[in-house]
């Protein structure tokens, strides 16, 4: 569920970066004031733990497909929200840098989607009230499942919104939501089971460990609801402000999604080249009730040259294509030139 750079607009990307940096700064300030310095290596190594744990797959009962641990929720439970947020942020940073999962610009979104919700929203508002500090495995299970599901739904929905607001994808809101949310419901339930399983296992095996982590985490870990809501409100205001600015300067971004939701139920025909692909996709997307693509295979008759984005066709002309080909050719030559020059220099 990692957001990708290529799907983002700079406005959305930087807005979420700003939000993430703000929350991150707040969390590290909070931690620095209260932290027991024993927590510093613990947090770091737990980040590596989440990473390693994510790589262990298991078979999801009844399906044969495999799943893995997400991590945000379990960190929040173990470390408290501030530390958990920072650890999650560092896990995602390493993922972005080493596996290019998402990319650097989308990192802001990803930290927000996978870190903010579980740590600052779901943990204080759902997990804590539901367990009420109880160590009863049943309650922990219920609370974990509820939390993981809600956190992932928020995360998935944010991916949808971030993509749509960036305006790079044509996916209509309804369909996108239908694609994302149910999958993440399933993932959430499993993550909940796994989270509760681990907490309960650890509690059974070495109860003192959970207690000692709890003892050394900052006092403010049981953060006041008010503060969370305040932070959230401020960030919502920033986000909202930025988004509305974005929406007003780039109306197309929102426009088309609105249009797609209420507008044309039917879409024009496609070019011939993708007919088979289309057919296949059509079958796969048949569960989207509102959208039926016209049967493919119609002969292409694309003469309705309506410029959707004025001025765009200027760039995408034959001259443009020629230019691009030449430029790419030059770049490849430069690359090869450097390679062979270097090769000679060495040999």
């Amino acid at each position: 569920m990692h957001m990708a750079d290529a799907l983002l607009s700079p406005a959305v990307g930087t807005t979420l970066w700003a939000g993430t940096v703000a929350v991150g700064g707040y969390a590290s300030k909070k931690l620095k004031a209260q932290i027991d310095d024993r927590m510093i290596p613990l947090m770091g190594v737990l980040g590596a733990f989440i990473f390693a744990a994510q790589m262990i797959n298991f078979t999801i009962p009844g399906t044969g497909s495999s799943g893995h641990l997400g991590g945000g929720m379990i960190l929040a439970i173990l470390l408290g929200p501030h530390a958990a947020f920072l650890v999650m942020a560092s896990v995602l940073t390493v993922q972005a840098l080493f596996f290019a999962d998402g990319g650097l610009l989308a990192l802001g979104c990803n930290i927000w989607n996978l870190g903010f919700y579980p740590c600052f929203l779901v943990y204080p508002l759902i997990y804590k009230p539901l367990t009420g500090g109880s160590k009863n495995p049943g309650r922990i299970l219920v609370a974990s499942i509820a939390s993981a599901v809600v956190a992932l739904q928020f995360g998935a929905f944010s991916v949808v919104m971030e993509t749509l607001l960036s305006g790079k994808s044509e996916l209509p809101l309804g369909a996108f939501v239908l694609l994302m949310q149910p999958i993440h419901l399933a993932i959430g339930i499993i993550e909940g089971f796994v989270t509760a399983g681990i907490i309960n296992y650890v509690r059974g095996a070495r109860p003192e460990i959970l207690d000692s982590i709890a003892a050394s985490r900052p006092l403010g870990a049981g953060i006041s609801l008010k503060k969370v809501m305040m932070t959230f409100a401020v960030l919502a205001a920033i986000t909202g402000g930025a988004l509305s600015w974005f929406a007003s300067t780039h109306p197309d971004g929102l426009e088309w999604s609105v249009e797609k939701i209420y507008g044309r139920g039917e879409l024009p025909e496609q070019k011939h080249g993708i007919a088979p692909v289309l057919k296949d996709l059509q079958e796969k997307t048949a569960f989207l009730p509102d959208y039926n693509f016209k049967p493919a295979g119609n002969e292409p008759k694309k003469k309705e040259a309506v410029p959707v984005w004025p001025g765009i066709e200027a760039g995408t002309s034959l001259a443009g294509i020629t230019g691009a080909a030449i430029v790419l050719g030059i770049i490849v030559l430069i690359g090869m030139g450097i390679r062979s020059f270097r090769g000679r220099g060495k040999g």
Partner: protein, 269 residues
């Protein structure tokens, strides 16, 4: 990717960063800033833009060739992570069929253009991020972040994460091997055993954190991870930044690619 591949992959990328080329020797901060600017510039092109993206391939290509990074390795990694972007992008040609351009009589739908644009941006951004690590090393990037004002606490998390990633992944890998060795099919890979394995890994991680903490204390740790200033921005770094910025600016705001095309077409017309 299987666990092992993923693990080795990081190791490989990591090792690439030990090379000694002039790209590797640039100040990490310069590279971090340049990469971020590059990303923002690429992303800032409107959704139907394809042609103007072409020149931007120069940036990764230069880093790759001068930095002696194998092209194939980077390409392979780009492909491995592409599914999500493709999955989202592939709907564009299906949903956005209005013609936005006519190229020598052939009308092109907006969906295909925007899809192509997503793919190009994807390739550019992902390879730039990978090349940042491959030419700077992860610790280098962390030092840069720290000196660029990221909270020290966050940066120390990154240090530890990076350092123990390999240790813990190896530990996890050995555990999986032990599990797979004694489970001759699916039952051993079930969720119950999975939870146990993760639980054990967690306990061992906490114990390890404790030992690390003692080791840190033994060497005078007082709550802050100190760091040496490794380098001052040198002339080369400033030149690199200036070059990158002017390159980005020129190709973002002037339609040079198309101009070249026109000129060449004019020659042959």
């Amino acid at each position: 990717m299987t666990f092992d591949e993923k693990y080795f992959d990081i190791g490989r990328l990591d090792r690439l960063s030990y090379r000694d080329t002039c790209v590797h020797n640039l100040d990490p901060r310069a590279k971090v800033i340049a990469t971020m600017l590059f990303l923002i510039t690429v992303i800032s092109f409107p959704k139907y833009e394809v042609v103007a993206l072409a020149p931007f391939f120069l940036f990764p290509v230069l880093l790759m060739t001068i930095g002696e990074i194998p092209v194939r390795f980077i390409l392979k990694k780009v492909i491995v992570v592409s599914p999500f972007a493709i999955f989202i992008g592939i709907f564009n040609p299906l949903l956005d069929t209005g013609t936005v351009a006519v190229i020598s009589g052939v009308p092109v739908s907006g969906g295909w253009l925007s899809f192509l644009s997503i793919i190009l941006k994807f390739t550019l951004t992902i390879s730039a991020a990978l090349l940042l690590i491959a030419t700077t090393s992860f610790p280098g990037v962390c030092h840069a972040l720290r000196r660029l004002g990221f909270p020290p606490l966050f940066v120390s998390q990154l240090f530890f994460l990076y350092r123990y990633l390999f240790v813990l992944m190896e530990e996890a890998m050995r555990m999986i091997r032990a599990r797979d060795m004694r489970s001759f099919g699916t039952p051993g890979a079930g969720i119950k055993v999975f939870v146990r394995l993760i639980g054990i890994l967690f306990l061992r991680t906490v114990d390890r954190a404790e030992r690390i903490y003692y080791a840190m204390l033994s060497r005078g740790f007082q709550g802050d991870i100190p760091s040496l200033k490794r380098s001052r921005m040198a002339a080369a770094d400033l030149a690199f930044m200036a070059a990158t910025i002017s390159f980005l600016g020129v190709f973002r705001f002037f339609r040079i690619t198309e101009g070249i095309g026109r000129v060449v077409q004019g020659l042959f017309a």
